[in-house]
Symmetry: C2
Subunit: 157 residues, 2 copies
Amino acid sequence: MPFYTIAQAAEKFGLTAHTLRYYDKEGLLPFVQRSSGGIRLFSDGDLQWLALLTCLKNTGMPLKDIRRFIEWIKQGDESIPQRYEMFLEQKKRLQSEIETMQLYMKRIDFKLWFYGEAMKKGSLAALEQDNAFRKERDKRMKELEQRPVSPVCVKQK
Amino acid sequence: MPFYTIAQAAEKFGLTAHTLRYYDKEGLLPFVQRSSGGIRLFSDGDLQWLALLTCLKNTGMPLKDIRRFIEWIKQGDESIPQRYEMFLEQKKRLQSEIETMQLYMKRIDFKLWFYGEAMKKGSLAALEQDNAFRKERDKRMKELEQRPVSPVCVKQK
DNA sequence: GTACACCTTCGAGTTTACTCAAAGTCAAAT
DNA sequence: ATTTGACTTTGAGTAAACTCGAAGGTGTAC
C-alpha cells in the first residue's frame, strides 16, 4: 500500500489530522501529493519527512526555522553547508538539553528520597528531629547544582 | 547577606524580574517576604524554592500543577503521599523524555553524517550515484526508530 | 536635594502552536 | 441511490506563559 490518509499519517506521529493540515497550510509539508478529489496522499517519503519534522520540532526548533530549512532544500546543492550547520547547532542544543534534564533528574530523585523518608517517619516535624536524616539531607542537597539554566526548551503539556 | 532583590534572584535562574513578578501574582512564590516599602526580599530558602520551581516547570509541569503542589505543602503532613506520587510521575515523564531525546539525537547524527558526505561529494546527485553510499545510508536509516514519540514535551524558543 | 536605577501594581498585548466549527466534498458500502 | 464517515477549506478562537507599558514609589550616590 503506497499511500496513507491524513488520519493514518497523523496517528503514526501522535498528531491529529487537524495539526497536519495546519502544518500543510504553514508550508511544512511541501511534498505531499493530492488525489484527483483533492485528498492528501502521504507516501513513505512523506512519513520520513514527518519523522524529521517532529524530530526538529520536538528538539526545540520553531516552525519558522523548519520553514527556512525547507527553503534550503528547495534551493538545492548550494545550501548544503547551511543545512549541515543547522543540524550541528541542533545537536549542540540537544546535548545541552539532555545534560540539563539529567541534572533535573537528580533534583527529582532528591525529592523522592526526601518524601520517602517523610512517609517512613509519618511527619516532616519528626524528620527534622532526626540528626542522621538532617546530615544526610544536607549532604545530598549540596550535590544538587543550582544552575542558571541556559536556553532550556521543555514545554508544559 | 541574607536577602536578594528580584533582579538578583531572576538572574540566578535565567529569568527576568517581570517573570518573577508574574510568578508571584500567580501564587507560585508563596514564601517571599516584603520590606516595609513593599519590596520583595528573596531569602536563600526562596532561591531553593525557585530551583525546584524551575526544575518542575522545565521538566514539563504546568504552572497550575505547581500551584496544586503549593496547596499540598500548605496542607502539611497529610499530603505527603500525594507529593511523593507527584515526583514519581515527574520522574517517569522525565525518563521517557530523556530516552526520546536520545532517539532524536540519533536522527540528527544521521543527518549530520548525510550532509557531511554530501559536502565531500559536492552535490546530492553525485551522492546518489555512489553505490557504497546508498548501501551505508540504507543501513543507517534502518537503525532510526520511526515511532515512539509519546507525550513529548519539548518546546520551541 | 535631586538624579537615577530599580522597585511597585495593574492591565493589556504578544507569541506559538495548535484547535475547532461550519459547510461542503469524496468514496465505499448497503 | 443513498447513507456513512472520513476527507476538504476557511477563518476564527484558544491556552499557556510570558512580556511590556504606564504611572508612580524607593533608596542611595553625588
